[in-house]
Every structure is written in C-alpha cells, then in structure tokens.
C-alpha cells in the first residue's frame, strides 16, 4: 500500500476496491503498466461520487464505510491492501448484500467511462476476425 493509498478514508478504499475488482478480469486495455494509472482512475470515480447531490453522496459514503468495515472483519485487511484475488472474492460476497448492486453499477459506470482516458486501449490491435458464436 502506497502512502497516498494509506491516507484514503475507509469508504474511499472500499470504492477503490470495487472499481479495481471490476477491472481485474478485463483484457481490453494494456495491462502492462496498470499501477501507474490506477490512482487516476480511482480519483475519477471518487470525484464523480463527490459531485453527486448530498442526498445520494452522504448515504453512499456511509454505506461504503460500513462495507469497508465489513471487509476488515471478513478479511482482516483494509480494502486497499487486498490482493486482486482477495478483492474479487470480497466483491463476490458483497454482491449478496442489499443495495450493493446499485453502488457497484454506479462505480462500474464511472470506471468504464474513464478507463480509456487513462489506459492505453488494445482494441486497435484486435484481429478483424469473423465472429464465431463461441461460448461467452
């Protein structure tokens, strides 16, 4: 955990963990230098949440704080210090918690919107192959 990450409030760490869990399995961007731009991406998501009207922002922060505390109880670690696989496991468990889906949807939308601003895209290299109706 970097110094900057250590300074984040627990709700910010939790939102960051949700954001990164939604990135971890993706192959559509250049993953070779992810560490350099991840803070910028988390910053975008947090700034987006900060611009929400207080009626959404306050409950959302409170809810994320509760989730962050739950994450410490469940994993023994702060959300920002979880490894990618621990983070993924945690998010899978949290998907069973009421209202988590709404928070994740919001965070994911922001992540996806800003991802290609910060991460080099790979699709240009994608082969122009014929689409096969392969299993998804």
């Amino acid at each position: 955990m970097t110094d900057e990450t250590r300074k984040l409030a627990i709700w910010e760490q939790m939102v960051g963990a949700i954001a990164f869990a939604n990135l971890d399995g993706l192959e559509c961007y250049d993953r070779s230098q992810t560490e350099s731009w991840r803070p910028a991406l988390r910053g975008y998501v947090l700034a987006a949440l900060e611009t929400l009207p207080w009626q959404f922002r306050k409950p959302l922060k409170l809810y994320s704080t509760v989730l962050g505390i739950a994450s410490i109880v469940l994993t023994g670690r702060r959300p920002a210090s979880l490894s990618p696989s621990e983070r993924m496991r945690l998010v899978r468990k949290l998907r069973l918690v009421p209202a988590f889906g709404t928070l994740e949807k919001l965070v994911r939308a922001m992540v996806m919107l800003s991802l290609f601003d910060v991460a080099p895209r790979l699709h240009a290299q994608a082969e122009r192959q014929e689409v096969k109706t392969s299993e998804v």
Partner: protein, 492 residues
C-alpha cells in the same frame, strides 16, 4: 470577469434568460434581435476548445451534470444524462432534428386541449430552425456508418419502414464523438448560431452562474439570487429584471420554481423516453467507430412508441453498455471490436417521474415504473432482436442485467419469459413535460403563451413546457415552441 469581482454585485437587465440550451438560446437570440436588453446566465462552462476529444471521461465530467449520471430513483433506477455547459443539451447531443410527429400534435390538441400548436402553426418555426441550423438528411454511406447501412438493409428484408434522419450538422467527420461535443465536426449546437446571434445583438452571457432562487412579491418576479463559480471560490450575486425566461431543462426549471415557492404543481410529473441499448456483433466488420450517431431510424413502430437507431461507438460506450453482462462478455465483445455496434431502442412509455425539491440545493427525481410499460418493452426487445438478426448480427447482448448473449430470436423468448422490470438496464437522455403548457391552470403550469399561470412576467421556454413526451428526439420541438412563445410575447 473573476467571480470575486462580481461578489455582492447587483446586475440589472430587461430580460434575464436562465439556461443556454435548446430553449434558452433561441429565446435570447430572438429577444436580443428585437432590440431588448438581454442577459443569459448558464450554470455550466463553455465547452473546452483544445481538449483531446478522445478523453471521453474528462469531457463528460466537464459537459454533463454529475459527470453524466443523474439517477431517476425507482425500481429500476434509471440514469439520466443531462448537459451542464454553455449550449446545454445541444452541445452534447446527436444533432437529430425532427419535427414533432403530427400524431403527437393532434394528441396535444385533442387530449391536452392545446390550440395554436398544430402542424401548420409550427411549420414556419421548423422551417426557420432547419435553415438556422443547416439541417440536412444524413444520407447512407458505403464507407462509414455501416451500422446504419446494415440496419437499413435489415428493415428492407423485413419490409419495415425506415428512414435516414435530419441532422443539424454542416459536415460530419464520422468520428463517433457526438456525446462529448464532437470538436472535429460542424455540429450546429447553439454556441454556433443562436448564442452568437444573441451576443452580436448586445446580449450578455454569464457562464458558471447558477440561479438558486427567484425572489418575488405580489405575484411579480423581481430578481434572482445566483452563484458564480470560479476556479477556487464562488460568489453570490443578484440580478434584477423586468421579465424572466426560464430554460434550465425539465428538471432544473421546476426545481427552481418549487424552491422559490412559485409553483407547487411544477415538476409534479416528469416525462421522459426510455432508451434500451443493445450490443450487436456482426459476421462482417462494421468499424462502427467510423461513423456517427442515429443516422438511420426504424420507424415501423413509431406510432406505437418504438424507434430503433444505431448509436455512437467508442470503447468507453461499448464497455459501459455491455458491463452488466460481466467481464467475460466485455472481453468477448472487445475481441471483436470491429464487428461490434451499439443500437438504441427508444420508447414512448407511460412511466413518469416526479421532481422533489424538499432536500436542498439539488432536486431528487423519483419515478414509478408503470407495469403497463412491460408490454411495450417486450415488444421493443422482440422487434430490436428481429431487425438486428435480419441485418446480419450473429450475437446480441440485450439490456437485461446479466442475461448473456443471444444468438437467435428463440433465445430471446427464454430470457423474456421471466423478465422483471428490475432486471432492465434502462437509461434516458430526453426529459420533458414537467411544467406542461395547457389551456387551464388546473392541469397545466404555463399558459399557451408560455407564461406561468400565476406570474405574468415569468416565461418558460424549454423542454418542460411540452404537454407530454413525444416519442421522438425533442430538440426541434423545443426550439419551435421557444420561437412560438417569444414570438407571441414580442407581438403583444
């Protein structure tokens, strides 16, 4: 001017126009050209001139309210994309400029009792707007907008009605960036025509200025209290006026009226269009990024409230559209990027919202899903699937949470059999009819001349005054109504 220099100042004008979007800019231009002393105020900033157009996240943050997501709360919650910049929605929209469908104008006359807004009365305004904004039909191309071409051919296969679309663009660079202002194109947003026309005729424009409250006494609006935002600080100012034109959009206009205790009926209903987005993978390449938005429209079911159109493709939009299907689906779609296209099915549904202003600076919008819309949605999904397969798609990812891909219409029926509203991924970018115009104060908020029933010097000239949703892109209608409202006032 730096905001500190404005702090505590009191400005004065004859006409104060709040909001510089589709409605406000037209109102300001017409008033200024008639020699009136006009000041426009706009909460957002000027769209940046030298930004990198592919930084979509950054531009979305600059041009949209709440970075592009304003939730219409309910089950399902529906995200709204709403502009907050000089030019309003016109700066970020697809530049489609349709005339109001005649059936809607008939409905407004017969059901809502609104006279003077028939096809013939509005025709002159549409002629003017189309000429002002250089509206032309976007013809089919063979080397760009293949998503449109395929869709058009698909409708041909089925014998359905489809049409190319009228757009307010002088030249289109086909770079699929309409929703972030499209710097390389000649999109005719209002910063290119009505706003400069207003400024040339002596109007002023104060950007980054949010009106917070309207002060009124004895049934007359006197001044507004506003806040000008600078890079580091905000300053409060007051602006006095003789006449006030509100054009803040269909949520912020009723919010301002409610907060200022001018109207409690404003915002009691809010109508909108539902957008359902489908990702299609085609057997042959589409290169959909080499194209633009909505250049063909499937109109076969327009009278039933369903139109189908291709949308913009950028990695950002593709990933956002398919995200609810999970990581594997995103990876799959991206590995066929050149074969992917996004389509929008737009609905004229019954579900309505309500603007709630009791909780401070920003409004909350609730909407209650109307069960009767389920039939419309099912039909829309069936028709979309049918036409996309007929167009050559081999896989579809529908706006049904986590439903995965479908490869035949038969797959769809399986997904639809247990579909609940909560599973639907709906979004909207068209809001309207929150302060409807009508012939009586009982069931409308503004008179047919655009003035509030209870305050003669306050006019509304934006999407809020439409009597209902229209099932078609609304910018043209809003601009035509603004022409009529200001025209009537100037003729008085």
């Amino acid at each position: 001017m730096a905001p500190e220099m404005l702090s505590g100042q009191s400005l004065r004008c004859e006409y104060l126009v709040v909001g510089s979007g589709a409605g406000g800019s037209v109102a300001a231009a017409l008033l200024a050209e008639a020699g009136r002393d006009v000041l426009m105020v706009e909460e957002g900033n000027w769209p940046p001139e030298n930004s990198n157009p592919s930084n979509i996240g950054e531009l979305t943050a600059l041009l949209y309210r709440n970075r592009g997501v304003f939730p219409l709360l309910g089950s399902p919650t529906i995200p709204l994309g709403e502009a907050r910049c000089v030019g309003g929605g016109t700066a970020i929209n697809g530049a489609l400029l349709w005339r109001t469908p005649p059936s809607i104008l008939d409905e407004w006359r017969t059901v809502n009792g609104l006279t003077g807004y028939g096809e013939d009365s509005l025709a002159k305004h549409f002629d003017t707007v189309e000429s002002d904004l250089h509206v032309t039909r976007h013809e089919l191309e063979e080397d760009a907008n293949l998503d449109s071409l395929y869709l058009f051919r698909g409708t041909g296969e089925l014998g359905w009605k489809a049409s190319t679309v009228p757009r307010a663009v002088t030249h289109c660079a086909n770079v699929s960036l309409c929703p972030v202002g499209c710097p390389p194109c000649g999109k005719q947003d209002t910063t290119k025509n009505y706003i400069p026309r207003a400024l040339r005729n002596g109007a002023g424009l104060l950007a980054n200025c949010r009106v917070r409250k309207i002060v009124h006494t004895n049934g007359v609006a006197r001044k507004v209290i506003a806040e000008v935002a600078g890079p580091e600080s905000t300053s409060a100012i007051e602006i006095e006026f003789d006449h006030l034109v509100l054009a803040c959009g269909a949520i912020q206009t009723p919010h301002l009226l409610r907060r200022s205790k001018i109207s409690s009926t404003a915002g009691r209903k809010l109508e909108f269009h539902m957008n359902l987005k489908t990702v299609a993978l085609f057997r042959q390449p589409v290169y959909a990024e080499r194209g633009t938005i909505f250049t063909v429209q499937v109109q076969e079911f327009r009278r039933r409230g369903i139109v189908i159109m291709p949308s913009c493709l950028q990695p950002h939009y593709l990933v956002t559209t398919v995200a609810h299907h999970g990581t594997d689906a995103i990876n799959h779609v991206f590995s066929h990027y050149d074969h992917a296209a996004v389509y929008v099915t737009m609905l004229r549904q019954k579900t309505q919202g309500r603007v709630v202003s009791a909780f401070g600076e920003q409004p909350i919008v609730w909407q209650r899903f109307d069960r009767r819309d389920m039939d419309l949605i099912l039909e829309a999904l069936r028709r979309t699937t049918e036409v996309l397969f007929a167009s050559g798609a081999v896989e579809l990812f529908l706006p049904i949470g986590g439903s995965g891909r479908i490869t035949s219409p038969g797959d769809l029926e399986e997904k639809l059999s247990s579909l609940t509203p909560k599973q639907l991924e709906i979004l909207t970018v068209h809001i309207m009819a929150s302060c409807p115009m009508g012939p009586s104060a009982e069931d409308s908020v503004v008179r047919p001349d655009g003035r509030l029933w209870n305050m003669k010097n306050v006019f509304l000239a934006d999407a809020s005054i439409l009597p209902s949703n229209i099932g078609e892109s609304p910018q043209g209608t809003i601009m035509a109504f603004a022409h009529e409202v200001i025209g009537r006032h100037l003729a008085d």
